[in-house]
Amino acid sequence: MAATTVSSVGQTREAARPGRAEQGAVRAGQAVLFTALFVYFTLPMLTVFLYSIATRWTANVLPDGYTLDWWIATFADRAVIGAFGTTLLLATITAVLDIVVVVPAAYWSRVRNPRIRPIIELSAAIPFALPYIVIGFGLLQFSGIVAPPLQGTFPLLVIGHAAIAFPFLYWAVDGAMAAAGIERLSEAAEACGASPIQILRRIVLPNIRPGVVTGALLAFATSFGEFALVQIVARGVYTVPIWSAEAIRSYTGEPGNFNRLAVVTMVNFIVLFVLSAAVVYFNRGQTVRLLPGARSIERGERR
């Protein structure tokens, strides 16, 4: 009985082994997919770069000539420099504010009051569910009721950006706290008579530094490229995306307009690239993570 089974399996296996043709088709399909994706992802980056150094580019496949004038002109432009300054300031304050409010809350939810955790985790889902334009419009209306003088101001924008960026910091910090075993460290420090502030500064922060840095970089990046909230909440604040939006909408076809936009887009792009490279570096090469929210569900189930 056993022998016949084995032989019959062997035979059918022989028959069903994928033929050369099928193998070849699969290989070819893979090659086509990878090539198409590579072109799709790199071509727009290439065109933006070429536009930033092109003299004139309206008729031929490649620009008529190359120049660095646009780069020089763009960086001599007060409006552009001002926009970059505002954007950097906004992103930095957003990241710092997030660190200040998130780290103590995450720490306390681990060592003292576990009821804090579900509240934070539910709140962290909001910026993922609600489009930024909805959050921005709601914030505008709400501030109109409780604090009209804040409308259109930089501080209100900081509050909005800190709120949409905080989940990234929370997940990074909470993960780092779990990895460092912060509960036991904190217990040990408490047994030695350290105060909560001392524990936070001398024990917790040094142990979760990679998580804080990663989270802060992600919060910074979120604020850096954000457009909807700036446009809706803070009319008077002039950031890089606002500058770019004006440039793209006022495009009339005269030369120079697109080239300057290309330079700004390149710089923006380089900043975000450096940020994401830094995130990978501080995460020790871990580029991928499971679908957002998975960790909290897993934890909930295990408990």
Binding site: A16, F41, V101, I120, L130, V134, L139, L291, E298
Partner: protein, 289 residues
């Protein structure tokens, strides 16, 4: 004695919650209250409670078109991301380490390239004098690029960040299907198609659908790219909920804020429902971890 009892209680409450209060205040002010205010505004006009606003706004054809178009765009974006990103995620998860790192890096960069910058990159590539347009016309093809404010143009631009996001989100799940299962299936004389139909896809389905829902949710909420590509063309441009909210805030004097609020609540409802379904699916999917 009661007073000290109250003080004692207050102290204990503060001890339990104080370090979390700044974050909770931030979330309440900037995420929860705005949503509540928007919802309330859709039911209140100068005379008090009313359902009239909903009827008037949803009765306007422009808003109906916007809702339908946004949903269609979200479904198309998510479906294409699934069909292209799913196989890509599987293949990338099976590459050698060096090549995999290259692709993850490229996808990370593309996923971060959004907003107005991407709208410009699209114009530079497929606009009237975009590079690809010039290449195709240079080859003598009668190529007319799609209008930059059209559905198709938005779809192509949105996919630039959506496909990488889909791949990055689903790659970790690809490890669930083990290589020796395919060998086992071959031993049992299964074809590649049978293996995927009976083993691979049923296991990966919850993860892939969860990714689909996330891309759908994010796509209907995108504003920056749409504003850059279609913002100025007025009536000729594709109508989306997000664009209509922006327009209503800027120029609609009669129904302005009320119209924007109702459209925002519609968007909120679609996104919340989608995210609830996502969490449900994910919970089922995580059995495999």
């Amino acid at each position: 004695m009661t007073r000290s009892g109250i003080a004692d209680r207050a102290r204990r409450w503060l001890d339990a919650w104080l370090p979390a209060l700044p974050l909770l205040a931030l979330v309440t002010c900037a995420l929860i209250s705005p949503g509540v205010v928007l919802l309330a505004q859709t039911f209140v006009d100068a005379n008090g409670f009313t359902l009239d606003l909903w009827g008037r706004v949803l009765g306007q054809p422009v808003n109906q078109v916007a809702v339908v178009t946004s949903l269609a765009l979200g479904v198309c974006c998510a479906t294409i991301s699934l069909l292209v990103g799913g196989p890509a995620a599987w293949l990338i998860s099976r590459l050698l380490a060096g090549r995999r790192a290259f692709w993850l890096g490229l996808l990370n960069v593309a996923a971060n390239f959004g907003g107005i910058g991407l709208a410009f990159a699209y114009l530079a590539t497929l606009g009237n004098v975009g590079m690809l347009t010039l290449v195709l016309q240079g080859l003598g093809l009668p190529f007319e690029p799609p209008r930059s404010s059209s559905f198709l143009a938005l779809l192509m631009a949105y996919e630039y960040t959506n496909i990488p996001l889909f791949v990055l989100l689903t790659i970790p799940a690809m490890g669930v299907v083990r290589d020796d299962w395919w060998e086992a299936a071959q031993t049992a004389s299964a074809t590649r198609w049978q293996f995927w139909r009976r083993v691979g896809l049923p296991i990966l389905a919850p993860f892939l659908l969860a990714g689909w829902l996330l891309i759908f949710t994010w796509s209907i909420g995108i504003y920056g790219i749409a504003y850059g590509l279609a913002g100025k063309s007025g009536g000729a441009a594709v109508q989306l909920i997000t664009l209509q909210i922006g327009t209503a805030l800027q120029s609609d004097i009669v129904l302005g804020p009320a119209r924007a609020a109702i459209l925002a609540v519609v968007l909120m409802a679609i996104a919340s429902a989608s995210l609830l379904a996502y969490r449900h699916l994910l919970r089922r999917a995580l059995r495999w971890f």
